[in-house]
């Protein structure tokens, strides 16, 4: 379940990044942007569900005590706590951006102002996704120590 959570999350972040890249081009491909934002939305929701399952049923009893007793107890209080809550809002952003590409796609490609706005939002989602991913890496490191 944890592996599924991580892989789905990585696909989600890749989707945001790819959408930003495509929207940064002078001539953007609407099918490509739509596909990447759809992939991001599906993957982030999948990561949300698998991560939630792991967190609610397993992390609290089996992993959190290990981290808290390790040399890095702050890994839980900072990175787990922050990550688990920031991650809660990624699906809404993913769905909103996909909705823009789906309902207002042609306008998004044609209208420079709108295209830059969606590109910026995809970039912001990428940054947040990378930060959440790195937080997960830190948590894993704390478990191993």
């Amino acid at each position: 379940m944890l592996t599924a959570h991580v892989l789905a999350g990585l696909v989600g972040v890749a989707g945001f990044y790819a959408a930003w890249l495509y929207l940064s081009k002078k001539e953007s491909s609407l099918p490509a942007v739509r596909a990447w934002l759809a992939a991001a939305a599906a993957a982030i929701i999948g990561s949300w569900l698998t991560g939630g399952y792991y967190y609610v049923l397993y992390y609290g009893g089996a992993v959190k005590p290990v981290i808290k007793k390790s040399a890095f107890p702050w890994a839980h209080t900072v990175f787990t706590e922050a990550k688990e809550h920031v991650f809660l809002f990624l699906p809404f952003i993913a769905l909103a951006l996909f909705a823009v590409s789906f309902f207002a796609g042609p306008e998004m490609i044609k209208n420079e102002k709108l295209k830059r706005a969606v590109g910026f939002a995809a970039f912001a989602a990428t940054l947040v996704g990378v930060a959440v991913t790195l937080s997960g890496v830190i948590m894993s490191g704390a478990v191993r120590k």
Binding site: V56, V100, A131
Partner: protein, 108 residues
């Protein structure tokens, strides 16, 4: 491109901004006021599930209310709403990480 389609996109963008803000508020207030966290745990079996459920509800309700408001969608206002969503996301991300860093390292 019909304004109706732009309006649909706008509804969901506005809903997403509201959901992000509510999740951030629930997160920080929940840590400062344990009864709120306890309420979410008692109602939803886990505080994290509760925050997600409330966030989802806010997303749907705000999008629906925005859809009812008789204002036509247009590209300029959609672009503004998307920028707001992006900045709300970044600010909320900083607020949550900042809060937990403060709680862990700086709180007296």
């Amino acid at each position: 491109m019909t304004n109706l389609n732009i309006k649909k996109a706008q509804n969901l963008v506005v809903g997403a901004s509201a959901a992000v803000l509510v999740v951030t508020a629930l997160t920080i207030v929940g840590e400062l006021a344990p009864p709120l966290k306890d309420f979410l745990k008692a109602t939803f079996s886990h505080h994290w599930i509760g925050k997600g459920a409330v966030g989802a509800l806010v997303f749907v309700v705000v999008a629906a209310v925005d859809a009812i408001i008789p204002v036509e969608g247009n590209s300029d206002s959609l672009a503004l709403d998307i920028y707001i969503l992006a900045w709300v996301t970044l600010a909320s991300f900083l607020a949550i990480y900042g809060f937990f860093i403060f709680e862990t390292f700086a709180k007296p």
